[in-house]
Symmetry: C2
Subunit: 432 residues, 2 copies
């Protein structure tokens, strides 16, 4: 079922390039519809939100009050969970919180020889919006992964939006919001929810940044409001790259590939391995285990369409290919993973050793599961506390510093033809 | 000439809102032309670059070799400068470098009770592109401010593009590239330069992130390639907000307002002051000094169109208004600036005390002059070393950790209907 590639083949690089090819669709039709929805929400506010929510989500409502979920309702949703679910959510939240505490940046400053103070002040954002998908792809873990870093950063107001198609609310999602410290929850989705957060309406407060995954409409809306508010990355389909030396149980590797493939028909699961016999064992395990999986159809479509088992020369070559791919998730399922870690430059997250299945990282190990996709790990980072903090430069020039700096600034400003800049520096000189 | 506002007026908030109103234009016609240029560069590479550079920049060339500036030519440009200019550029570069060294983030990790290792690996980007505007708004200081943070981050390859209308090269700009450690320089501009960096051509290498200011075409192109490469903020017109208690020389304040206004007819300069008499002194100084300025026409257009002198109740109210405005540059020209600093939450950079004219910060104090504009300081930060580093999460679960984490992950995965996730966690349990 799965395509096999061999790194020694002459056409390997172009095969790999074709396999990876995925451009975030910027469908002009979607974009035009999104532009119209955003404009409508901007100008008509709540009235537009109610109409779109009736039309797109099939929610029978005529007031914004019905589209807000209270803290009491969030708590009730939590109370309705099984004890085992409550424990798992709380344990995951505690671990995610502890990990993210390590990311908090602090203000710093220093004083130079002239007595000039320089530094950077780090402060949390005032208010952020979290988009949580609804319906069948409704993930409580996403609520934790978006809200907890904001909470750790010290953001005072966290506004969550989640569509509830035909009015169906997901207790696990609401319970996660309760545990993660979300301030307000609105049952809104699509471009209209993004518009509400970006512009504010009579009821929905305007936020400073919007994070969280969504469909093509949500992605197009986020791209459009970028600049009015901050956004996180526009995410592509999920991916896993497994590097295995052949020492891990092939059933484990097959299941790890499935765990990515089951997300989406266009998710991508790739194995890099120097051991041809092991690759065949994994292939056999895939055939054997696939029929048992409830989401077998999605997995099959993903593996057939975008998956690959790739034989490589050795682990060094596997690392080189991994750097070119810059995968979202990278499992380094080898006997001595720390030896190979320094060779890996680009990945959203690296899962080291055979016990570290990607699923553990997705839910509860601690690190964030919102990761750069589609080769963007070349320049982007996992969602983190740093996404909910911002920096302000501080400069307090002393009387003495103004003499040194003033002369330099004056020379450069004249060189750029900006005489007001030059003169404003020169005014601070003792001798003009 | 300048409009006067009073914070006690009933209509003040709406006046302020109108004054600040500025939406990054997303002109559909510009966008369509940019899309066509990007597509052309993507598919035809160098040939397209040569054609556009002939057409838009009036450069008479038929080979890419003529559009690259060698390291020798950069050095020659530096040698041609006046001694005073060489010293000023080098002093500015050294101070900018020293300040930015403070921003370098480091990798970290910890081990939890179960022996599971968690952390984050921080690495530089491989290759970045810096867009430098050409022609009349050609600023060597921008070269330093974009290239030095990348260099401090450890980026091995820094590719600069700068248009040279009618073939005119600016020695100061090339000398700055020489000093700042730029790897290669191409005389390209506009959307075609952005396309070359984003997709790569036969000659121009593909980069991982593009930073630097540009006109509407450059901004639209950066917005379009966002996702294929990283970009910094899409910048709006420059702004200064001065808070003054009336203790600074009014001529200094007037000149500080000019130094922002002279950038652009749509730049914004605003004064907040509780002292009505001082406001009149500044207004008189503006009238008196304006005719002396070489860029008087631009300054007048900017001050008349978008400037304001605003009388406030007291300095506390000035800080509150400043937080709402979230200005790019904030001068706190008061006698005891440190008292008011804790009241200020949102600004790109804060210039404390009367000796700290914004111009000193623009050129040589040390902090970056690429700052968030148009109220984006609510969520965005100055350009910094952190823009040229990225993070990779690290997880190495121990055999013991796999037992605890596996149970949590399994419960949550079943709750989300993702059975392959659950099973991949369960495979790592001792008792299944």
């Amino acid at each position: 079922m799965l395509r096999r590639l061999d790194s020694r083949a002459a056409e390997f690089r172009s095969q790999l390039q074709d396999l990876l090819a995925f451009e975030t669709s910027q469908d002009p039709e979607v974009d035009a519809r999104v532009a119209a929805i955003l404009d409508d929400v901007k100008h008509r506010g709540d009235a537009a939100l109610i109409e779109y929510t009736q039309r797109f989500d099939g929610v029978d409502t005529n007031s914004m009050a019905q589209l807000e979920i209270t803290q009491e309702q969030l708590q009730e949703a939590f109370e309705r969970l099984l004890p085992q679910q409550k424990d798992a959510l709380q344990a995951a939240a505690a671990r995610v919180r502890r990990y993210h505490e390590h990311q908090k940046a602090s203000s710093w400053q220093y004083t130079d020889e002239d007595g000039t103070l320089l530094g950077q002040q780090v402060t949390p954002l005032d208010r952020v919006g979290i988009y949580v998908p609804g319906g069948k792809a409704s993930y409580p873990s996403s609520v934790l992964m978006n809200a907890i870093p904001a909470h750790v950063a010290g953001v005072p107001e966290i506004i969550m939006v989640v569509p509830t198609p035909r009015g169906e609310r997901n207790d696990l999602v609401l319970a996660a919001a309760y545990i993660a410290g979300v301030t307000r929850v609105f049952t809104l989705g699509g471009a209209q929810a993004v518009g509400a957060l970006a512009y504010g309406t009579q009821t929905v407060p305007q936020v400073d940044k919007i994070t969280g995954p969504g469909n093509a409409y949500v992605a197009a809306a986020k791209r459009r409001v970028f600049g009015i508010v901050g956004i996180d990355m526009v995410a592509g389909p999920s991916e896993i790259l497994v590097i295995c030396d052949g020492s891990t149980d092939p059933d484990w590797i097959a299941m790890d590939l499935f765990s990515q493939a089951e997300h989406d028909e266009i998710a991508q699961a790739i194995l890099l391995c120097p051991d041809a016999a092991f690759i065949e064992q994994v292939a056999a395990s895939i055939e054997r285990q696939l029929p048992e999986m409830p989401r077998a159809d999605i997995i099959r479509a993903s593996l057939t369409g975008r998956g690959a088992l790739i034989q490589v020369k050795d682990l060094q070559e596997a690392c080189d290919i991994a750097n070119w791919i810059a995968p979202e998730h990278l499992e380094l399922s080898v006997e001595h993973p720390q030896i190979w870690l320094p060779e890996l430059k680009h990945a959203g997250a690296i899962f080291l050793g055979k016990f570290t299945s990607e699923a553990l990282g997705d839910y509860c190990a601690g690190p964030n599961h919102v990761l750069p996709t589609a080769r963007t790990a070349r320049f982007a980072s996992p969602l983190g506390v740093y996404d909910f903090q911002k920096r302000t430069s501080l400069i307090q020039v002393s009387a003495a510093g103004a003499q040194t700096l003033g002369r330099i600034a004056s020379t450069l400003a004249h060189g750029e033809g900006l005489q007001a800049h030059a003169r404003s520096a020169e005014y601070r000189l003792d001798e003009k």
